[in-house]
Amino acid sequence: MIDSKIPDGPLAEKWSNYKAKAKLVNPANRKKLNIIVVGTGLAGASCAASLAEQGYNIKSFCFQDSARRAHSVAAQGGVNAAKNYKNDGDSTFRMFYDTIKGGDFRSREANVYRLAECSAHLIDQAVAQGVPFAREYAGYLNNRSFGGVQVSRTFYARGQTGQQLLLGAYQGLLRQVSLGKVIMHTRHEMLELVVIDGKAKGIIARNLETGELERHVADAVVLASGGYGKVYYLSTLAMGCNSSAIWRAHKKGAYMAGVSWIQFHPTSLPQHGENQSKLTLMSESLRNDGRIWVPKTAKDDRNPNIIPEEERDYYLERKYPSFGNLAPRDISSRAAKERIDAGHGVGPMKNAIYLDFSDAIKSQGKDKIEAKYSNLFAMYEKITGINAYKEPMLISPSAHFTMGGLWVDYELMTSIPGLFALGEANFADHGANRLGANSLLQACVDGYFIAPYTIPNYLAGELNAPKNDILHPAFDEAEKAVRAQLDRFLNSKGTLSTDYFHKKIGRLLYEKCGLSRSKEKLEEALKEIKLLKESFEKDLLITGDDALNSELEKAGRIADYMELAELMCYDALQREESCGAHFREEYQTADGEAVRNDTDFCYVSAWEWKGKGHKPELHKEPLVFESVELAVRSYK
């Protein structure tokens, strides 16, 4: 039975009640306790720094060459906080409600309320660290409205909010390194979780410079290793983003939840060719002034500028008149796919839609548009060679954020005691669809404000537990498994590269477990993944040695993606409803809107690994709504 450990009391008092009763560790005892933190993005860096400040010994790991490069760095738009600085009716409850509704009522009330409650403190914390947020001329913090909400609660630092927040966290982390409380392991990848007597007690990590396998023991392990959107190959994510840390923990007993809830960002650049590695994101803020359209006639390949007004279909404005071009991400992305699939796609590969600024330039003047978006227009021109002041941008939906991840309880602890998951690596707060500017927030709140209470609460019970060392048989066994897999890859005799398999699995998921799904397509996908896995076993070719070898690194990640892809399909298959980012073609209204089924599917799907070749087992955590009424999410 799954226990989410939601504290008693009214919604607004739950977190206070928890904090009041959480167990503490005496300052003198904290230095006897060791914590491993995997990942140095906003969640990992903030958690490692905060726990080190309390006096625990931290070992921090990242695969990049510096902790500052984690993919939090790429978030452009901003970070939400219910400060109500604009006096426009914002409040903790309002933010909570927007997030619950945005997630299509598939997240926990208590978690989401806590996220909104802690949001204001995050802005305080970041400002104190020196994050240069946008300011008004009087010197006070500025903010704006973002992504389908009616208040201004998004704080931003030009188009680099993620980078600036991460630098704050990174600098806090390195301060603890200089004080000797954190030992940093860059260019290291976690390849196995070590579980002793049912509790997470360490990891096996590979030094990516030398190839050496290392054993690290601790009293608790934190995974803050990010999302797995890169499973689709073409995505907005960094090339190194991967699921290996969470997937290997899953195979050691940690449940995965909401696995098929993947957000497709509506405004990324379209694919242009077979060798493309990445779909660059264009900030969603462009939708504030750009109008989205496709030609009314299918396969119309005239230059967009000569297509007359009456032959253009501004489909978002037509279908969702009250939100228009600002409809939430899941709705906008799906509407784009529907038009593209119906043959109205534009661009060389007919896989894009137009984002047109000509009306905004006419009404506001080119200067105004330049002032707002010049960096984005320049970036667009750099990548495509097209001047978007003169012709519409080509954009397309792209795999972006994973709402799913390791199942965690209210304390952010997974189903393995002592193993915590923070940030995008967990499933907790966004339900079936994440609102814009809530991802940076969740990562920070998990690391700065939640884990520093809940991890000591767990560690208090570990103080007198027997200490393990790296000679424990569980370490032998874990290292042996990692070694065996690496040797298999190094001795591979096939003809196909890691990228070949990555592209294959990515395309398969785009087609069959992407923006829209059906029983038929998902069942096909499961069969095809099985074949692809068999081919991967025998046809893979890895060149190079067991030292610094990027192909070897990728092989392990892709092996994990294959299994993860399978679980995504199982998860999408069992959820016979449409909610948020999960759209099942069988469950829609006559005009193509999602039909949610609260009677049968108002639960979190938490999956248990049952071994290679066995179907995973589904556990259901019912979602109970006491403070909000479940409503149909309409943006019409």
Partner: protein
């Protein structure tokens, strides 16, 4: 298009490296520079050879992990552009392209085009932060910061830590990187408290890492993908002088 590549190959830090010739065909002008290298690596795998190692991650110009010398220029021919944002339309059919790692004594080559930039982390560790622990921050708007100050601070904070400034400098100086961090923090009221201590320890660490001195050639500013101004070096020098004069 067809290209002739001359690429630096080196097995590890202690081994001797060399330029190796490659030919690559079927490169599209829409490909990014790194996608062109991906394509080359795919062909090496087919020949059962070891791939060319190069650093990269976000491929959208913000993480700072990529960076190679292209025809002798850090991040290649375009201004304010990281290697990952450079596209092949900047080259033409039949071109010969020289590709080398960022070189500096403080950035040892790990393998091929991958280098070790941990010296930058060590400099930040030495004081590139505001010493505030989680939980003690006052309400954000109790510290008003003028629009101009916040913007100037941001200009310096935008550094992505790629190391192009060091690679392009004839002295392999890290002055732009260090100056940018000093400026970002010293301009803000929150960062002023520790400004003197910070500049002294960071500059000391910069020297200890083996970076050269700044001789004001401005090469760094020209190659910086974020367009960080060398005024931040002037700011660092001013902060440093102040700190030394008033040192207790």
């Amino acid at each position: 298009m067809k290209l002739y590549l001359k690429i630096w190959r080196q097995l590890n830090t202690s081994s001797k490296g060399e330029m190796v010739n490659y030919e690559i065909d079927g490169v599209s002008e829409h490909m990014s520079f790194l996608e062109m290298l991906d394509l080359l690596n795919e062909s090496l795998i087919q020949k059962r050879e070891r791939v060319i190692e190069f650093d990269h991650d976000c491929r959208e110009g913000i993480c700072g992990q990529c960076g190679v010398m292209i025809d002798g220029r850090a991040h290649g021919p375009l201004k304010n552009t990281t290697t990952c944002q450079l596209h092949m339309r900047s080259f033409k059919d039949g071109d010969t392209i020289y590709i080398e790692p960022f070189r500096a004594k403080a950035f040892p080559v790990l393998r091929d085009l991958k280098i070790d930039r941990s010296a930058f982390d060590s400099i930040i560790e030495a004081g590139g932060f505001i010493g505030v622990s989680t939980g003690q921050a006052p309400e954000a708007n109790t510290i008003p910061i003028s629009y101009e100050t916040a913007e100037a601070s941001f200009d310096a904070a935008a550094c992505i830590g790629c190391g192009a400034c060091v690679a392009t400098c004839k002295n392999a100086s890290a002055a732009l990187f260090v100056g940018a961090k000093i400026t970002h923090l010293a301009l803000l009221p929150q960062g002023k408290v520790e400004a003197s201590k910070r500049v002294l320890t960071m500059v000391e660490q910069m020297d200890a890492e083996g970076f050269g001195n700044c001789s004001d050639t401005r090469a760094c500013e020209i190659e910086c993908p974020q367009g960080i101004s060398i005024l931040s070096i002037a700011k660092m020098n001013a902060e440093y002088s102040k700190a030394v004069i008033f040192r207790k």
